[in-house]
Symmetry: C3
Subunit: 669 residues, 3 copies
């Protein structure tokens, strides 16, 4: 198993390198990622290439049996390039040209920049494509991060026109798709179409969604250009990956992944300015998403947090145990390699307060010791562990295009799509069901329940797949705001939930957004939620059943008594529809019924405790137990079986106590 660090030798005097490598060896590092911001060193002036610094570093690594992942340096075009060709710079919605001085200061639509990128990648590929220490490549760094996904300059607008011509062929199709009769926006020449720069109101939602698709596609093609050049020159043994961040930026990772050998991911459960980490369910959901992005294939965590993070604002200090906990969570959910960010905190530059395994003084201390313990355990059992498989039973739908549509029209001040996604994911997470993320092209085979939260942007082919899936006996959970939009981001003219209405056996005749701070109530009428009440927030769909039965009703407003949650028999399966945002405890109760019915395995654990089970072909099970609480230890009941700690050889069964922030990898005896 690869486990290593993100290393920036160029930021330190050469005299230090030897000590760094010694300490890495002490830790057990077998891989480092290098060079992803090193363009200026590699091409100090236009057309002059110099790889001597990285040659030296790679030699040093080679001498110590440490492998190298090389980043292509295109996230940071050098000062000379920007000074000579300022047209490379991106432009914001107000027309401000972004300055040199940060990173990702290029428009992906700059043909000039693409030419420069191809050249440097080619040089790198030629130089290192056969180097045996170099095991693989990372293209660029965090595409689209920090608002670098959308650029609104003139070259971007022109590229948008080309993209539109490809997609629509005729302006009539564009006008029809966007409904430009509204507000007299009909386009009679391609050149009339704007980039969505500042308007006094809001742009056409059809244009906005296509703009996001365009931005994403341009990055996909840009990445493909780099991959094509690399593949042409590098050894077949070298892989190509990219380290994604999964925000709502205009990047469709699953498209880009087609050109990559596997996905990488930068895992930061806490960041600058945050008083505490994001919820464990949100971290877990991101891992499931990574794994699902290339259809279940294992991924690398290319940047795993190893200390407090931040730029001008620092965040929460990860507690002793957090590094291990988050590492084991990653491995249990599908990571096959872990690279810690970063080896040592930088003395210079914007990321001065991104703390690493070592802090600025370079002395090994608590974090070093903690990471060393992780390395030790993983050396012993890592390969065995990652050779096992995670077998999801519950799929949670996520389509980045749906996320874009929500970003364009959040519809309530209380509605943050990502939080709602985690809400409906969390119901399954709390029951320790084996979850995965499904996207429109995913196979649903083997999944026993599909949860489809806030399925605003209907994808007809996925909806057909869902129908077939339920018809054949599957269970689907739908929520409010399903089936509202067609793929052009136009509202359906069918009664809501549109294409899902028959499946759900309901019609939604009215609805109301609840704003920040507003709440109504629902009360259940069946199963584990019978007579149980929950606050209803964010949104209320007022449901009329056609074939469905009612399992919860509203308690407030003029819609008191109106159905809020329903269940429908469809073919051999069942469809639930949850018309409002209920609380976590309530959702867990509801899901308990759903999962029992659909034979999803669940494990009752205290709220802080997460367990993940993996299996080998031979049926041998692997168990990861994580106590996310920073203060409470918990007595838990292990899944049936005898479980062995690979290091201590200690065996566990039945009830055990998990200390706060305890994290254990166990193998079935």
């Amino acid at each position: 198993m690869y486990i290593g660090v993100d290393y920036y030798p160029e930021q330190w005097p050469k005299e230090r390198w030897q000590e760094d490598v010694s300490l890495m060896k002490e830790l057990g590092v077998n891989v480092v990622r290098l060079a992803e911001f090193g363009w200026q060193l590699m091409e100090p002036k236009e057309g002059v290439y110099d790889f001597s610094l990285f040659d030296e570093v790679i030699d040093l690594m080679s001498q110590h049996d440490i492998k190298v992942v090389l980043g292509t340096p295109t996230a940071t075009p050098p000062a000379w390039m920007i000074h000579n060709y300022p047209d490379i710079l991106p432009v914001d919605e107000e027309g401000v040209t972004i300055s040199f001085g940060g990173r990702r200061h290029y428009s992906v639509n700059s043909k000039r920049y693409r030419a420069f990128s191809v050249k440097i990648v080619e040089q790198l590929a030629k130089h290192y494509g056969r180097n045996e220490t170099v095991i693989g490549w990372q293209t660029d760094n965090e595409y689209g991060h920090e608002k670098s996904d959308r650029s609104y300059g003139e070259q971007d607008r022109v590229a948008f026109h080309e993209w539109l011509k490809d997609k629509y062929e005729t302006l009539e199709h564009v006008n029809e798709a966007w409904g430009t009769a509204f507000w007299s926006q009909t386009y009679t020449e391609w050149e009339q179409i704007p980039a969505p720069k500042k308007v006094l109101q809001e742009h056409n939602p059809g244009l906005l969604l296509d703009w996001d698709r365009f931005c994403s596609d341009q990055y996909t093609s840009y990445n493909k250009e780099q991959c094509d050049v690399l593949r042409h020159h590098i050894s077949e043994d070298q892989f190509i990956t990219h380290n994604f961040v999964f925000n709502e930026q205009a990047i469709k990772q699953r498209d880009m992944t087609k050109d990559l050998d596997f996905v990488s991911y930068d895992n930061y459960p806490v960041w600058g300015g945050l008083a505490e980490p994001i919820p464990p369910a949100a971290i877990a959901q991101q891992h499931d998403l990574c794994r699902a992005t290339k259809d279940g294939k294992g991924y690398w965590v290319m940047e795993e947090l190893a200390g407090a993070q931040g730029w001008s604002q620092i965040g929460y200090l990860p507690r002793p145990g957090h590094i291990k906990l988050w590492t084991y969570q990653a491995i249990a959910r599908g990571a096959e390699a872990i690279v810690y960010f970063r080896w040592r905190a930088a003395r210079y530059g914007t990321e001065q307060f991104c703390h690493g395994i070592l802090d600025h003084d370079g002395k090994p201390r608590r974090k070093f010791e903690e990471v060393k313990e992780v390395f030790l355990e993983l050396k012993e059992m890592g390969d065995d562990w990652i050779a096992s498989h995670y077998e999801p039973e519950v799929g949670v739908y996520y389509d980045v295009e749906n996320a874009w549509a929500w970003k364009i029209q959040p519809q309530s001040s209380a509605l943050r799509y990502k939080e709602e996604l985690v809400r409906f994911y969390n119901g399954a997470y709390r029951l320790n069901a084996a979850t995965t993320i499904v996207h429109p092209e995913s196979s649903l085979e083997g999944l026993k329940t599909i949860i489809v939260p806030l399925y605003f942007l209907n994808n007809s082919s996925f909806t057909s797949k869902l129908k077939e899936y339920v018809n054949d006996g599957g269970t689907v959970v739908l929520t409010y705001r399903s089936g509202v939009k067609n793929e052009d981001n136009a509202v359906t003219d069918r009664t809501l939930p549109g294409e899902l209405a028959e499946l759900a056996g309901i019609e939604v005749h009215e609805y109301e957004p609840l704003q920040e701070g507003q709440q109504h109530r629902v009360v259940g009428t069946a199963g584990h939620i019978a007579d149980v009440m929950s606050p209803a927030t964010v949104w209320c769909d007022l449901i009329e059943t056609t074939t469905a039965e009612v399992i919860a009703k509203y308690r407030d407003a003029f819609y008191e008594g109106t159905p809020a949650i329903t269940k429908n028999k469809y073919g051999k399966g069942f469809v639930y529809y949850i018309g409002t945002a209920v609380e976590d405890y309530y959702l867990a109760r509801l899901y308990r019924d759903v999962f029992r019915e659909s034979n999803v395995k669940t494990y009752d654990m205290p709220e802080d405790v997460e367990i993940i089970i993996r299996k080998k072909e031979n049926g041998k099970r692997y168990l990861c137990v994580l106590n996310h609480s920073t203060t409470a230890s918990h007595r838990i009941t292990l899944p049936k079986g005898i479980w062995k700690d690979a290091i201590s050889g200690e065996k566990f069964q039945g009830d055990v106590r998990m200390p706060s922030l305890g994290a254990t990898l166990l193998i079935e005896r």
Copy 2:
């Protein structure tokens, strides 16, 4: 009585039109507004006109005896025009040119745009000016809305110079009016005068107020251009109106109204992102303002909310009963026609979530039935009702120039002029006094009390009128921040309240803004407020009486015991001065005394209940009773008399029970 819908046939397939019209006929629609965003359809390319779509629609309407109000389409210059002539676009305070993609994307100072406008209006007028189905015209749409009132580009700045030359003739006059000796701002050439674009501090308040006047005047002249062209071509039977929104934008509606046959108004008591409707008093105040804008003449509600509204954020769902309630409130306060916005929710464009009588699926449901009931009642009694008159006894002063002055210098973080206006209006509203809005040119005849809230920008001719009014026996209520500014937005050099000091019989020697969250107290010394305490917020004037008597004092700070509210005998009348923002209950108590003394009729009703009385020449009375509460029914005592429901024939007198959201129109027997 005209009652109808805003209809956008261009946004729907022709196949649907027939069904729409059938449903409209079922409802009782006799008028539709059309075409106000239809420019691209009418002029698909420069100079090529095509009215075939609207011809067809108007024919269809004609066949079904539905009349048409036609909008001139100038709120949405088409894409081809902006692409060819981008100098039409407005520019914001930071110099950003607003993009195509919304609406109202023109500078009213663009001569090119004015030429285009005249041409399209002329074509329309020639084409439909004698069409008997077309009963009238709406110019453009919501002038100045969504920050389209002020544009800061070079052509705007040049137009400002022309406007200033007209107003001031010489630069000496400008320099004097603005007091440009301050901060060395004296102008020696017209060209030196800036548009008020971004500065590090704040612009000269004199310049800012003139800028607002300029922006408003340019819109007035723009509207007049359209009206002149229309009048030249259209039948005398066709009216011209414009649908206003009354915000603090730089539009002086009462000027523009001189060119219009009557005022129209877009009535949205709740909007996207709001958790609940604005207070009933605020809605009532807007209706009074509409009516007063053309000196008491009846107006149209050209857009009456018919469902939840919003763009990217939706707001509160109007409850069953709200549409009827808000419609009857409008009619009782002066609306002579109601046009619901909109017939059916749009599938495309920015306003996808502006819900109509029909939602996206086009099926008649709850809202359709509710509106149908309203149509039925109004068909029966509407004409009779609107032939009666509203006879105001209490005037509340509102001058949009005063609102601009407050926008320029709000003076306290807690001071929002519009809220303060409603505060002092609400005191009368709660007592069900018959209110109206008075502006500087209004006749005060017949009014028994004039309330003049936050009369910051003194208008000398109105102040003279007030003096005469009081001298002749009228009663005036003044508040804090009266008489502070002259018409150039310079501070008076007279002791406050400046020109009002003698009238009020007081001097204000000091004052203090109270910030958000701060409060002091006042306690009354006479009448219904004797020994009653109220929080004092927003502002405290420290009063010294000259001839006035004290009726409330402060209880806190170093000004404990200082007069806070006073009453002065002046000529045959009385003048009250309220030096601080007191609570609603307190103001109602104070006004009770004021109104008793000035013989203003008041009706005690529960806080949620509003009644409006209208009269015919023959003395017959019409009574509208509205219970704004969404939850509480109320027992109320009707004004003396026997009141008949025109539909049911049922008679009412004395005590009756009004259900929550109950709304009734009654006729005196």
Copy 3:
């Protein structure tokens, strides 16, 4: 003693001048400041000079024995100049050119503007340099205020390159200092270096700190240009000063002061929009800072608040007594002259609501009487008082470069450097210790304790001075975030607190920012804080002692029991290290121990009461007693001795009662 008013005769008709002067004489005014915004009057068109208005005013003053301080008018370039030479205007971070219409609308890097400035200053100096009524000069007005410190245009960027060449000589030095290997930012030509305009992330902290230094140095050289021209022409009897505001703007006052005869200061304890004045300790700290800026030399308050202040928002109304209180505080802490802002509130322009001694109506009232009382007392005893000296025993470190570094990287949402500075100053203020501000070049002689709050940006020479100081027996108090950065704004590679580690006898191995609203606790283990608990906010350093002893520990989180406050013996002295933000009461307890040990005199007073003691060479003491409470009177015990009120002749000793907002200047008998 000079005591007077800021007078703007140009804003009023000449007919009023005589009355103004009569009222000034009634008050006792002996100096006015004039003309600092009068450029347009002096140079109505390019190259045409006209000083007639000010000649007339100065004549009038001369006739009444009132002296004049003349402002150079460069804070407000006239309209003609900006219209003809718009390249003078500053540019913001987004590239927006600031408009004419406010003040300070020039880039200090405009060579054109510098030439204009030199010319007008030369004309003024020639004209008034020998005028006996004119006693001195104020250059410009509030350099850098209102974000006028930083301009990001092309001429600014070019000037930055020149500055960098001067400082670094080679690009290699720049690249090394800023660590441009980070994110591939290495510069290979000077022209590549950006002004820190908008980026998607954050700029390099090294560049940002140098940018601030550059901006400050440019203002220093600009001021020097004015001073040089003045000195060349004016009499030796005329002084030159500048009225500073002390924010975190990019102005290093102590550099600029080298060219000035003394510092002036604009003292506004409350401003527009504030619900109450800033804390008394914060006002005191600013006075100490003024005095320290020119190494203890007395300063002028060139603008002393005389009424409620504000532009579009007004603030808290100073209570009766506040003017006197704040005046006496100023004098006691080092002001040698007081000039009230402003004589009369302006009727025109942005500062309409900056109230003066007179309000807009020009009638003397409460404030006039209050100020008159102050004038009377100061006439009697002012000269004697200011001839005495303030003898500080406690120094509090403040380096504006450190403030810039904190502005660049505040590191926690709860960390506002200025508030933290006041926190650690306030501990001494509450004990009525005699405080001063020390900066890197200050002499530490005579000081018994040096408090060095948040010494983030280490200044090596000051650190050496501190070491020597402690070694020789001094006491130093350090706090969290000490020694983090070197002078290039790079993080030290030494274990924290870096160069201070040996001095403090500790190492900081980890730390955690606490965000807004977060808190932990500390509990003391020795002295006055033994067993006393305080909330710990803002930041927690986790300390390991090397030679220090622990005097407080954390009570929460995983670092419960970890040292939070320590004390170290170093040479003959002691060094305290406070690793977190404790509450005021707690700090006062801790400082009580520190001061007892270091023989700092303290005086126990109620929390609202401040006393300041001054001495003459002959040992005679002067005592100022201030009760800052607006509501509570306090019984206090005077320092030993018999104290005489110079006016009433009344003598005080032992216990006396101070009324709320009482302020007294007493002389030892």
